[in-house]
């Protein structure tokens, strides 16, 4: 029993007891009156107490209810938290499972990575790599080679040839000769070359090469198409800009060519080693459309088969060349080549053109020498005299890479090592020169269009061009940046000779007079791809 209830019960009992004893005590009212009032007072007190206790009890109950509500809220919150905790726990369990799966995958990946790393780190056998790379490139391969070069020519022509100055120049030129090589199989190769030359007053474009090279076996290759004339060495092997040690071509292979520079037709060629290593012999035989000339007059310039004036031949040509290399490499005597060529054909519906030549080159250490002699005969129609020509050149060069000048610092000697001084003597005996060729080259009378200014091979900056009986000494100094990058410098001296005749396109000849002694300076920076 709670305390307030006890008090209530006790108070009721006290009142009942008071009522029971009241009669007994009334006799003595006179004397017990204060006691009754006290009792009443106490009862009143008790009633007040009871009211207070009841109020307190209600307040206490109210607090209890509030506390219960608070606790209920807390319980609800706890229950909610518990639900969340359960959800989180479930999520954690799921995550844990996923982590386990991921860890397993990572372990497997790690093993795979280690395996791959080991494979990558292991050196690939060269044949396997070559095979893979070959598959990547494909079986048909292609590349661009060739050359490009910037030239400057200072060619002050003081003398006039029968009223025509021969090409005073003070100009820049740019020459671009990309060559395309396409190899569909290991026995077929196609080569094609485009040539663009840009000068002060004209631009020239040409396709000097376009042919297939078919390797039949170890001793025979067939060439079909448009090719450099395989006569001697110069046209075929020495004409590229970065290969020719000089800026200009030797006189017999410039604008006054003695044999045609190129041909359309076919070749059969090959070589074999007849003795020790280096002792070789090679052959070339070919046939084509034959020679053509700029004019049907003596002294006319020879052109390639793609020249505009190429309709003057109605025959075909045949040619042959043999080259012999007598020195074995192990003899350390150097490399010597001796060659002989011939080229024969018909032009102008039956008139013969015959030519022959010999050539040599010899290399020993830093010394390189080469030379050629070429002779041609052309039968003329209309009672004109035979047009015979002779041409030659002889050149030598010496690399200074073995020379250390005493007293000079290494830096200076390193520059000197890249130098190659050169000298060349060339000439053409040609008693007549065609007017129209000079006009084409100088721009006189053809509107300034210098169509003949830049021939197929070599820059025509020489002072001795289009002169009968021309002679020239060229001094050169090349600075080799790399094996195929060179800065070339050339100083040309024209040697005075007796002169000859000029022939118009109607066949009228006039005396040319003596050749002036002119000079030229040419410089060229060229890169071979």
């Amino acid at each position: 029993m709670s305390r307030p209830r006890f008090r209530q019960t006790f108070t009721v009992l006290a009142i009942l007891l008071g009522l029971a004893i009241a009669p007994v005590c009334r006799a003595a009212d006179s004397t017990d009156a204060p006691t009754l009032s006290e009792i009443q007072r106490e009862l009143k007190q008790l009633a007040q107490d009871r009211a207070r206790e009841a109020r307190e009890f209600r307040e206490e109950r109210k607090r209890d209810r509030q506390q219960i509500q608070v606790l209920e809220i807390k319980v609800q919150q706890l229950e909610q938290k518990g639900t969340k905790v359960q959800a989180t726990t479930q999520q954690l369990e799921n995550t844990d499972k996923k982590l386990q799966a991921t860890t397993l995958e990572l372990e497997q990946t790690n093993v795979q990575v280690k395996t791959l790393t080991a494979k990558v780190a292991a050196p690939i056998p060269a044949p396997e790599f070559a095979s893979d790379f070959g598959r990547y490139l494909g079986s048909h391969t292609f590349q661009i080679t060739g050359a490009a070069g910037l030239d400057f020519v200072y060619d002050q022509q003081s003398g006039a040839l029968d009223g025509f100055h021969h090409a005073t120049q003070n100009s820049f030129f740019f020459n671009f000769e990309p060559m395309f090589l396409y190899r569909p199989t290991d026995w077929i190769l196609f080569e094609g070359e485009f040539e663009g030359s840009f000068g002060q007053t004209g631009t020239a474009t040409d396709i000097p090469l376009a042919d297939f090279q078919i390797t039949l076996n170890d001793y025979m290759t067939i060439v079909l198409g448009l090719f450099d004339q395989p006569f001697g060495d110069w046209y075929e092997n020495q004409s590229p800009m970065w290969v020719n040690r000089f800026v200009s071509a030797p006189l017999p292979f410039g604008v006054e060519a003695v044999v045609p520079p190129s041909e359309i037709g076919l070749q059969l060629r090959g070589g074999l080693q007849w003795g020790e290593l280096g002792q070789d012999v090679d052959y070339t035989v070919w046939g084509g459309n034959g020679p053509n000339f700029s004019e049907p007059v003596p002294g006319a310039a020879l052109g390639g088969p793609t020249a505009i004036a190429s309709s003057q031949t109605n025959g075909k040509s045949i040619g042959a060349r043999v080259r012999f290399y007598p020195l074995p490499i192990d003899s350390h005597l150097g490399r010597l080549e001796l060659g002989a060529s011939t080229y024969n054909g018909k032009w102008m519906n039956g008139n013969w053109f015959n030519s022959w030549g010999v050539d040599f080159n010899y290399f020993y250490g830093n010394l390189q020498t080469r030379g050629e002699w070429v002779q041609s005969y052309r039968q003329m129609g209309g009672g004109l005299p035979q047009d015979s020509r002779q041409g030659w050149y002889l050149q030598a060069g010496y690399f200074l890479n073995g020379i250390n000048l005493p007293g000079l610092p290494d830096e200076v000697n390193n520059y000197i090592h890249r130098l190659e001084p050169l000298v060349r003597y060339s000439g053409v005996n040609q008693h007549a020169v065609a007017f129209e060729d000079i006009k084409g080259a100088t721009g006189i009378g053809v509107g300034g269009l210098q169509v003949g200014l830049i021939p197929d091979f070599g820059l025509s900056g020489s002072p001795a061009l289009f002169a009968p009986h021309s002679r020239e000494v060229a001094l050169g100094l090349d600075y080799w940046v790399a094996p195929s990058i060179v800065w070339q410098n050339e100083f040309d001296l024209e040697l005075p000779r007796a002169g000859g005749v000029f022939v118009s396109n109607l066949g009228v000849s006039t005396a040319a007079g003596s050749i002036p002694n002119d000079h030229a300076f040419l410089t060229q920076f060229t890169v071979g791809f």
């Binding site: 790379f133 391969t141 190899r183 060495d233 046939g287 080549e337």
Partner: protein, 92 residues
């Protein structure tokens, strides 16, 4: 003379078509080594005959296949010597 030339050419083509070029891919290790050593001797001689020898590293191996095929034609090199040059230049 023209007929003779054509006859010689036809005979040569017929003969040549019978003999196929040797494939470099069937080469043994010893053969390759022999060619590389031979190519090292020939490189400064054959190339220098016309121009400065160009370093092997200048071009990719497949480009040397093309270049030497072209140079073999221009220089009329003996076939085995041309193969030696290719192997040397590609070995670098």
């Amino acid at each position: 003379m023209r007929k003779l030339f054509i006859a010689i050419l036809l005979a040569a083509v017929t003969l040549g078509s019978v003999c196929r070029p040797v494939s470099a891919q069937t080469m043994s290790k010893d053969e390759k080594r022999r060619l590389i050593l031979k190519g090292a001797k020939l490189w400064p001689v054959y190339c220098n005959q016309c121009h400065n020898p160009r370093p092997p590293g200048e071009k990719a191996p497949y480009e040397w296949d093309q270049e030497i095929m072209h140079m073999r034609m221009l220089g009329n090199m003996p076939a085995d010597n041309a193969r030696a040059l290719v192997e040397y230049l590609k070995a670098r």
